[in-house]
Each structure stands twice: as C-alpha cells, then as structure tokens.
C-alpha cells in the first residue's frame, strides 16, 4: 500500500516538474519572440530617415505625406521606449499608425516612376518591403508562441502548475486599425458598372 502511494506521489512530482519546465520553456519562447518584434521595429525606425532623405528633393510638394511618416515614426519610437509586454497596446497602436503612413507613402512613390529609376530609391523600397515583412512575420511568430503558451496555461492538468511557474496569459499582437481589418468588397455579380 505504502509503495503504491509512493509511486503515485513520485509520478505526480515528476509530471509537475515536466509541466513546470514546459511552461517556463514556452514563456521564454514568447519573450524571445517579443524581442524579435522589437529588433525588427528598430530596423524599421532606422530605415525611414534614409528613405525620406532619398526622396525629399523630388517630392517637395508631397511634404504632407513625408511629415506624416516622420511623425508616426517618432511616436512609434517613443512608444517603444517603454517596451515590455505590458506596454504592448501602445506600441501596437503607434506601429499601426506608422504602417498606415508608410503604405500611403508607398502609394505616392508609385506615382513617380522617375523616382524609382534614379538613385537608390528602388533599393530602399526593397529594404522597406523586407522590413515590413519581417515585422509581420515576427508578429506572426510571436502570436503563435503566445497562443501556445496561453493554451498550455489553461489546459488541464497543466493549469495546476501555472501559478507555480508564475505563468500569466501573454497578450496577442492584434490589428487595432479598423481599416486594416476591413474586408475588401468584392463584387461577384458581374453586372456592368453603371
């Protein structure tokens, strides 16, 4: 009888250790994924002055668009200064502003074919595209890691050990901009446009 009790106890303790370590592992993965977003956001912030300088001369009359980009970038840097998963809402909001400003900027650049032909604008645009993608994929990676972490915390019986591992639900990086979430309208009726 005592032996059986001992075995059961040992099994519970062993499972507890495994669950604890699993949670810590996921927690660190989530933190690391968050740091990766940070790294990519920093790259993005560093890239923007170069891009703006490269096109400033040719696009003097589009001053408004350029200023919007610069302003959004500075706000994003301020929001990023107090980083950490707690401040994520502010960071996400500022970065989404920047994304919107940059996409408007890209639309404007597309209207100036001669701009892309001269200088290193095409190269800078490739860098910008890549950085935008990296931010997106880093976010995707973070959300996947965070979802896995959150699921493990809530599932039975791992949830019994969540408190010991000081596991708290990680916030997902969501799109807060309504414009980005909106579903594009697709007209399938094939009616001739009036």
């Amino acid at each position: 009888m005592g032996l059986i009790l001992l075995i059961v106890l040992a099994a519970v303790v062993l499972y507890g250790i495994a669950a604890y370590n699993g949670l810590i592992n996921l927690k660190n993965q989530t933190l690391n994924a968050f740091k990766q977003i940070d790294v990519q956001l920093k790259r993005r912030h560093d890239l923007i002055p170069n891009l703006v300088n490269a096109v400033k001369g040719a696009m003097d009359f589009e001053r408004q668009t350029l200023e919007a980009v610069i302003q959004a970038r500075n706000q994003a840097i301020t929001a990023g200064a107090n980083a950490g998963p707690g401040a994520m809402h502010q960071i996400a909001a500022a970065e989404n502003q920047l994304t919107a400003a940059l996409s408007r900027f890209n639309v404007v650049v597309e209207q100036y074919p001669q701009l892309k032909a001269t200088g290193n604008v095409a190269q800078l645009q490739e860098e910008l595209t890549s950085t935008e993608n990296k931010v997106g994929f880093a976010r995707q990676q973070y959300n996947d890691a965070a979802t896995q972490y959150n699921t493990k915390q809530q599932q039975f019986p791992t949830n019994l050990f969540a408190g010991i591992a000081k596991a708290t639900p990680a916030e997902l990086w969501e799109i807060t901009d309504e414009g980005e979430r909106a579903v594009p309208q697709v007209d399938l009726s094939m009616k001739p446009k009036a």
Binding site: S130, N133, Q141, P184, V186
Partner: protein
Amino acid sequence: MTDDASLNLFQQQEANRRRTIALVIGFVLFFAWLGLGGDLILHLATTDAAPEAYHHSFPWFGLVLTAIGAGIARYGFASGPNKVLWSTGAREVTEPQTDKERQLVNVVEEMAIAAGVPRPRIWLVPDADPNAFATGLDQMHSHIAVTQGLLDLCTRDELQAVVGHELGHVKNLDVRLMTTLAALVGAVALMHDGMGRLMRGGFRVGGGGSRGGGGGKKGGAGQLVIVLLVLWVITWILAPIISQFLAMAVSRKREYLADAMGAQFTRNPMALATALQKIEGAAAPTSSIKRGAAHLCIADPLGRRMNMREGGVANLLATHPPMAVRIARLKGMAFQRLKAEGQFPAA
C-alpha cells in the same frame, strides 16, 4: 492549431533524428554483411582444402569493411552539406551583388523569422533552370541554395514561398536525413563503381572454390556456399538500386509536408502554387544538380529527362510527387484560407 502543429513538428523532428541514426547503422551493417559474407563464403570454401593450403578462419574482410563503412558514414555525415553544395557548383552569397541577390537575402531573412530558425547560409547555383534545395545537419547549421533561373523567373512572393518550403525542410530536420542519405548514396555509388572490377575478380576465385567444395564429399556445405554466394553477389549488384529506392521513399511525402509548412510560414499558399507552376513549366533539366542530390530539391532536377526517356517507368522511379497534385493541394489551402477569412476568390 498551433499546439497541434508544434506537436507534429516535434514528432517529425524526432522521426528524422531516429531515421538518420537508423540509416547510418543500416549503412554500417550493410558493409559488415558485405565483408562477413565474403569471409563466411571463403571460410566454407577453404574448410575442405588440404591441411597445408590456406584456411580462411579470421574475418579480415568483415573487420576491414565494417571499419571502412563506419569511416565513410562518419565522414559522410560530417561533410554531407559541403559535399552536396560542392557537387552543384554553388557559390555563397555573402555580399549581395545585384538587386535580385539582395532580394534573395532579404527573403531568406524574412522566412527565417517566420519559421523561427536561425538564418541559414545562402547559396546561388549558376544554372538557368529554376530549382532550389536546402541542406544541413540541424537548424543552427543549415544552407539554402537556389538557382539563378529561380531568381530570374520568380516574383518576390514566389521566391518567398519557395524559400519558405525549403525552411520547412530545415525546421522539421528533413535536411539532416536527406543530406546524410545523399552523402551515403554517393558513397555507395562510388564504391560500386570502384569495387566492381575487384568484385568480378573475387567472384571467379570464389566460384572456383565452391565448385571444388561441391565436387568433394561435403555436398551440403557446397550448396550453402552457393546460396550464400548468390545472396552476397545480389547484394553487391543491388546496392545502388536499393539506395536509390531509399532516396525516393524518403522524399516523396516530405514534399507535401514542406509545401504545407511553407504555406503556413508565408500564409500565402497561392504564391507557392504559381512558383511550382513556373518551375514545372521551365523546359531545361537542372544540369548542375546531379542524381545524388536530386531528392533534396523542390522539384526533380532530372524529372524531364526521365519522363522523355522512360515514360511510364518514371512514375515508379520519381523522387518527387506529381507537380499537378502539389499545385492542386496548395490551391485548396488558398481557398480554405479565403473561406476562413470570409472572402471568396474573385477569379
């Protein structure tokens, strides 16, 4: 979804580690059989010989060949990625020279982030046919190679999709098994070519010996010698064929899985579908990628030549699943995505 996918990933990695070990052990055992079989045949053949004649009693062949096999396996495992890259004539892209190369480096960096693996080293194969492969022994030390043709033909999104597919192979450790297999298949082919002459010489000696034994008083032993001899010779002859079949069996299902993983990284299955269409549509075979590394590639570099020459047999001998099925599956994924997002494809 994520939990399920990561569990599958973990199982896949474990399976690949296990299969790599099994492959290496099998390879060494195969060498041991080649050696010890020869020893046994020679031993049985010389037991009836006169007392002053040579008696084969110590398994020299077995020990030497096993040692050789273990040596080749160890060397092949350690140098596999370099050998594969070397055989294709790839050059490493460290400082991108052109806009396209810069784009390739960027795309690989993006996909490494999406896959959550360290950035692999990037190689360019000077070949006009579009193709790509990944090699390496683990996630920390991996390589991605694309041909110049792929770089020229594909859009940014398509390039991203192809790189995503290759990083799928890296992430679930397919590269470890497939690279080891490439190294060992190469070793078997080399050995078979080189030792073929030696084997034919040994066959004549062995044949003479067994005939002598059969003519003597111990008919039973003689028959055993003949059966063993036949088995042994068949193994020698079949070695390259067996290794080829192994390469095929190992790679076909993996391509579907890597397609799915690539689509998961990019969240854009349609780009991979169109990239595969372009790769399929290109007429020339990838001449710089040889048979030994064919199973590593995203599309069979020899496929077209095989189809033209052998027709229906190619279906049996293909190292890759039919392109049409892969494209159809990816289009299905793209449709599912659109449906899940509440959109329907406009075209």
